[in-house]
């Protein structure tokens, strides 16, 4: 049984949570109208004026000149996303974030702890509202595909549970474009064949669908028949970077920033039960020249180890004595064996225990509740 949780109008809602004055107003995140940006997120009030994501902000402004336009604070959104993930992991060990504001959760075997799927969903919604001041829509069904469709149908601030014996009944009257992978183009093709609902699709002869859609029709049929996405982690890398408010040559500050970013990235890494085997350090100078260095490392999830390698790469990059504008770290080449302790790397076992304690503390009291002393300089500079 899967639960699909999708935060409503995510970026805008975060802005509203941070600044309650924005609530119940048409708000658009993506850039100021005179800039060249596109709408990344629009509040439901703004959507009433026909504003939707992907639209140039200048056009959004013409549709609703009274809307509040914001550039957006992506660091903040990431932070909210991570807190959202933390909440979800309380309900099941198997949480797959598929984007910044959307996740699938395997809720099999949670009944004794949280009751029926609906009871669990209610609790989850309450928890998200209480801790993040955000609305989340929840769809629950036997497969991820169905839970996603249910979630789409229930938006905004909704909850929809599709019991196994009601699946077909639920699907038949729906528009075909609710199925995954049916975009405007495929939708248009199907419309020309007079196929509008999933019921039409099921009743259409296979041969007709194959001619119209090619091999893709098999995948659609597979989903309708209860097939599902593969469970897999979509993450190929975990990256963290910060642009400094002011360019700097202060090495102490740059290394502190790297340590902070490494801790952040490793925290995410451990939550996904992964170890990393490759590390990239990125640096951008005041002249906007960007340099990266990458190295393979023995598999680990300990920031202590990764920082050691990272600092080595950074030292190399800092040989150019230019002012630094941005520092970033990226972990990649993941492996799944973080649970197995090592015979020889005794130090790693100690790190694992230490980091477990750190993660637990941070889960409870927030990431900044405990920080390495050498990153204190960031706090002084208001960077953390």
């Amino acid at each position: 049984m899967f639960l699909c949780a999708d935060l409503d109008a995510f970026f805008v809602s975060v802005e509203q949570a941070e600044n309650p004055e924005l609530k119940d107003k048409p708000v658009v995140v993506g850039g100021l109208p005179e800039e060249r940006g596109v709408v990344a997120s629009a509040s439901y009030e703004a959507r009433r004026y026909g504003i939707h994501s992907g639209m140039p902000t200048s056009r959004a402004y013409r549709l609703c000149p009274g809307a509040i336009f914001l550039r957006g604070n992506f660091r903040l959104y990431n932070e909210y996303s991570e807190r959202f993930y933390e909440i979800l992991t309380q309900f099941s060990p198997e949480v797959n974030m598929v984007s910044i504001d959307e996740a699938y959760i395997n809720i099999k075997g949670t009944r004794r702890l949280f009751g029926t799927p609906e009871q669990l969903a209610h609790r989850l919604k309450k928890e998200v509202e209480k801790r993040l001041d955000l609305c989340v829509t929840v769809g629950i069904a036997r497969t991820k595909v169905l839970s996603k469709i249910a979630c789409e149908r229930a938006k905004p601030d909704g909850l929809l549970f599709i019991p196994e014996d009601k699946e077909l009944e639920f699907l038949l009257p729906l528009r075909v474009n609710l199925l995954p992978g049916i975009g405007p183009k495929t939708d248009e093709i199907l419309k020309n064949l007079n196929i509008n609902t999933i019921a039409d699709l099921i009743n259409a002869p296979d041969q007709m669908l194959e001619t119209a859609l090619g091999n893709y029709y098999r995948i659609i049929k597979f989903f309708i028949n209860g097939g599902d996405y593969e469970i897999q982690d979509t993450r190929k890398s975990i990256s963290r970077e910060v642009t400094l408010p002011e360019d700097t040559t202060n090495k102490e500050l740059i290394y502190a920033l790297l340590l902070y970013l490494t801790e952040r990235a490793c925290n995410t890494l451990r939550r996904q039960h992964l170890v990393t085997k490759a590390l990239t350090i990125k640096i951008r100078f005041s002249d906007f020249k960007t340099k990266t260095k990458r190295t393979r490392i023995p598999g680990t999830d300990a920031q202590q180890r990764i920082f050691e390698y990272g600092a080595g790469l950074l030292k190399n990059l800092l040989k150019e004595k230019k002012r630094v504008r941005l520092v970033g770290i990226s972990l990649s080449r993941f492996q799944n064996d973080r649970f197995q302790a090592s015979i020889f790397r005794v130090q790693d076992n100690r790190f694992a225990r230490l980091n477990y304690a750190l993660d637990k503390t941070r889960e409870k009291f927030g990431f900044k509740s405990i920080i390495p002393a050498s990153t204190f300089i960031l706090k002084e500079q208001d960077l953390q």
Binding site: F339, A341, F344, Y356
Partner: protein
């Protein structure tokens, strides 16, 4: 060059030399073997550049000579021949093969093109029987690391120390050590596992002699000489990680443990294979669970001395160790939730396995 040779002799010998030929290599010359006829013997040599193998077998040599020919093809021709004796004759650059009424004409290459074969190491180290070697190898080799990032762990450590011959392997999470009394010169080397495939398939009562040099080792047995390039060390300091004392001692019937572990691990997470062991006075409780498959537990009787202890292991790793123990009872010795367990047959102390636990719940 001209000679006659028994089909079954040639087939067997070629078979084991061809084994070493790399299946696909950019260095295509390695697909070939050297055939050399002199003094009523045939010498067959092949290499993958890490291991050079040479076998010498009797033949009826009419005219001595040396030729480089495609190894696998000659083996196939030999195998498919339906006659007892095969004739070889080099005519210009073609090797003519007559097997009864079948005739082949195989182009050959200049033996000069073959990579240079290193000198056989001079210094003899020690000797043992193929059977003894096989036993040391079989009990340890399965644990060699496959991950190529830790090169020394991709080989077997052979060591003579404190009048013991020791074979050591590890994959980082487990370690195997098999030792045997042997009063010889101390020394050690690390060598790739494929070397042993060439040796252990032979008659167990025959002797095998090991030679040692800085970068090479030599092996001699029966009609075979092998030169193997060593893997560069240092090997991880294995002695330091073998616990000297334990707080918990468990004696358990191997078959009972194996059966229960196989059953309980059916519902563990397929990637982690985590099974919890809870040791108490007269039993150990195995349990596992995962969101997809539910939960399972099984109590196995045992004799346990020590404090109660809960510890997680990778069931796959432990089952593999148990498969390599032939004794009826095994001993598991433990210290804590976060330190290595020692597993060994009850009846012998020469063979030990270490297994690190899983870090579930962060080890509270």
């Amino acid at each position: 060059m001209e000679f006659k040779i028994q089909k079954n002799v040639l087939e067997k010998t070629m078979g084991s030399v061809v084994k070493i030929i790399p299946p696909k290599s950019t260095y295509t010359i390695l697909q070939n073997i050297i055939l050399e006829a002199k003094d009523n013997t045939i010498a067959i040599q092949g290499t993958d550049l890490d291991i050079f193998v040479k076998k010498v077998v009797p033949a009826e040599v009419k005219e001595p000579g040396k030729v480089l020919i495609p190894g696998k093809k000659i083996l196939e021709i030999t195998r498919e021949s339906n006659i007892e004796e095969i004739k070889f004759k080099l005519k210009e650059l073609n090797l003519q093969i007559s097997a009864g009424s079948a005739h082949f004409n195989i182009p050959s290459l200049d033996p000069q093109e073959f990579p240079e074969i290193p000198e056989f190491p001079e210094k003899k180290w020690f000797e043992l029987s193929i059977g003894e070697l096989g036993e040391m190898v079989n009990s340890t080799i399965f644990m060699v690391a496959r991950d190529i990032s830790r090169r020394p762990m991709n080989g077997v450590l052979i060591q003579i120390k404190d009048d013991e011959l020791r074979f050591v392997t590890t994959d980082g999470a487990r370690l195997a050590l098999n030792k045997k009394k042997k009063i010889e010169n101390p020394g050690e080397l690390i060598v790739a596992t494929k070397l042993f495939d060439l040796i252990t398939a032979n008659k167990p009562e025959e002797k095998v002699a090991l030679y040692i040099e800085e970068r090479m080792m030599g092996v001699k047995f029966m009609d075979t000489t092998i030169i193997a390039r060593l893997i560069e060390g240092p090997y991880p300091k294995y002695e330091e990680v073998i616990p000297k004392s334990f707080t918990g001692n468990c004696t358990i019937e191997k078959e009972l443990l194996t059966g229960a572990l196989k059953r309980v691990s059916l519902v563990s997470s397929p990637q982690i294979k985590n099974v919890k062991f809870e040791f108490q006075e007269s039993s150990v409780m195995l349990s596992a669970s995962s969101p997809d498959f539910g939960e399972a537990k099984e109590k196995v009787p045992c004799v346990y001395e020590g404090e109660k202890l809960g510890i997680w292991f990778n069931a796959g790793f432990l089952l593999e160790i148990l498969r390599h123990i032939s004794a009826q009872d095994v001993i598991m010795q433990l210290t804590s939730q976060s330190s290595a367990a020692l597993v060994r047959p009850k009846t012998e102390e020469e063979l030990i396995y270490l297994l690190m636990p899983l870090r579930i719940d962060g080890w509270d």
